[in-house]
Symmetry: C2
Subunit: 278 residues, 2 copies
């Protein structure tokens, strides 16, 4: 494990760490912000942020505007990469498949199955590493993410109902089995059997009985992907039928970019902090 960048920021430390991943069989990088309270010697709550298509750890680290709120509330924030990368890793020319588009699944199809194991990476390997190396209180975890990473946050939380105190998402893909991005990715990584997709589809998981207590989701009304890829109304309907307390906010005029995310980041982190403090 190697710290490849360290910068003092908002009274804490913003690190970028590289390590050899057993899940992906490649070097992986993640960003971790340790707020000023980490100097105190105690353990701190940790927020996982899963990024969207084309992103690395760097997008949210540079543009997410999360550090001020993390410093205020004493939160560690961890931002993994979105796929394995490198010359020996298969890729696809499209922006929405292959490197930068791991979709938080363990691929079963060739040639992806060997390295594209982001589910295991974000649910097992990286949490264990963070717990071992940093003052993260694993009894107080929250998860969020954007777009493909919102899909990741929702599915990871639904399948680990006792792990997270709180779950939110920015412009998530809520039903990948019903939209082009998701059909392409799940079909490519998991094969044509749509039954296997349901464990990586938040709406399907809720239909099949998975539960979380509550959800906070923001979407922008000017998001170009709202009606074709995100379809928050499908989550709204599934949560209503399942009795999940969904707070879905349609933010007027906002798009799919980090200008949208950074606008509501502090609000999400405050919401998580309230639940992590209980």
């Amino acid at each position: 494990m190697k710290v490849v960048a360290e910068n003092r920021a908002h009274g804490g430390r913003q690190l970028v760490v590289e390590h050899q991943s057993s899940a992906t069989g490649t070097p992986m990088r993640f960003a971790i912000f340790l707020p000023p309270q980490a100097e105190g010697g105690g353990k701190l709550p940790v927020v996982w942020y899963l990024s969207g298509l084309t992103c690395t750890h760097a997008n949210v680290t540079e543009k997410g505007e999360y550090r001020a709120a993390c410093a205020e509330h004493g939160l560690i924030l961890v931002a993994p990469d979105t796929s394995p990368r490198g010359d020996g890793v298969p890729n696809d020319e499209a922006y929405d498949f292959g490197q930068g588009a791991g979709f938080y699944v363990d691929a079963t199809e060739a040639p992806w199955a060997e390295h594209f194991r982001m589910w295991t990476y974000v649910t097992e390997e990286l949490p264990a590493l963070v717990a071992a190396e940093y003052p993260a209180d694993m009894e107080r975890q929250a998860i969020t993410g954007h777009s493909m990473g919102g899909h990741g946050a929702l599915t990871v939380a639904l399948r680990h109902p006792n792990r997270f105190r709180s779950v939110s998402a920015f412009a998530p893909i809520v039903a990948p089995g019903q939209v082009p991005w998701g059909e392409k990715a799940l079909g490519g990584y998991l094969g044509g059997d749509r039954a296997a997709w349901r464990r990586h589809d938040a709406v399907a998981l809720i239909e099949d009985g998975a539960r979380v207590g509550e959800l906070l989701v923001d979407v922008g009304t000017a998001d170009d992907f709202l009606d074709t890829e995100l379809k928050p109304e499908l989550l709204e309907r599934a949560c209503a039928e399942a009795g999940i307390a969904l707070t879905l906010r349609r933010q007027p005029g906002y798009d799919h970019s980090y200008y949208f995310i950074s606008t509501f980041m502090a609000d999400h982190l405050r919401w998580h902090a309230e639940r992590l403090a209980r």
Copy 2:
């Protein structure tokens, strides 16, 4: 004038605008944030942010974390580019001269004199354009900047003592005539006569009688350029002798990056807002 990007952010609008500059003879881009209060029809105070070496308008726009504070205080923020650019514009292979390194002077030396007229651009042309096109209250202006842009902010303010209500800087080059970056740039753009450099050197301007009421300056103690290029102690001495109320804060552990700038951005904007409200 053409809006090349527009994103809703923090309740306002983040624009990137391109226009044909008469000062530089090239197309120029700048970023302007219009806070939510701009919808109200009145005029708002404006903060100028001048960027450092290698930057465009985009660095602070993406990494500066200024929009939340601008929205809170009702401030317009304008971030120009750091030089003319393009195929017909002379350049230098070094990062600290030529395109991306205009140093906020009007060059007098060949081949720079034709296009490298950033002094006229940031002190005359761009303010006139912003005043004409946006609800900017030109009676309530503030200026700040980073590194080379801190140099720009200080020299522009010292030579326009009645234009700005407040002046601050992040890690500024305070005495370019005494440090390598400045000697190279001022020598290259203005020629070997060091007397001509003094009007583009904050410490020299103060020594020669220029005054502002007060200054807020942050530097990081882990800034690699602190002792060689920034030398805040020279500004400290000049201000002490001139009776200028300098607040110079040496921030422990911070470097020269946008992690430093974004940490103290909200504090600078609050400080400016207090003075712009008077």
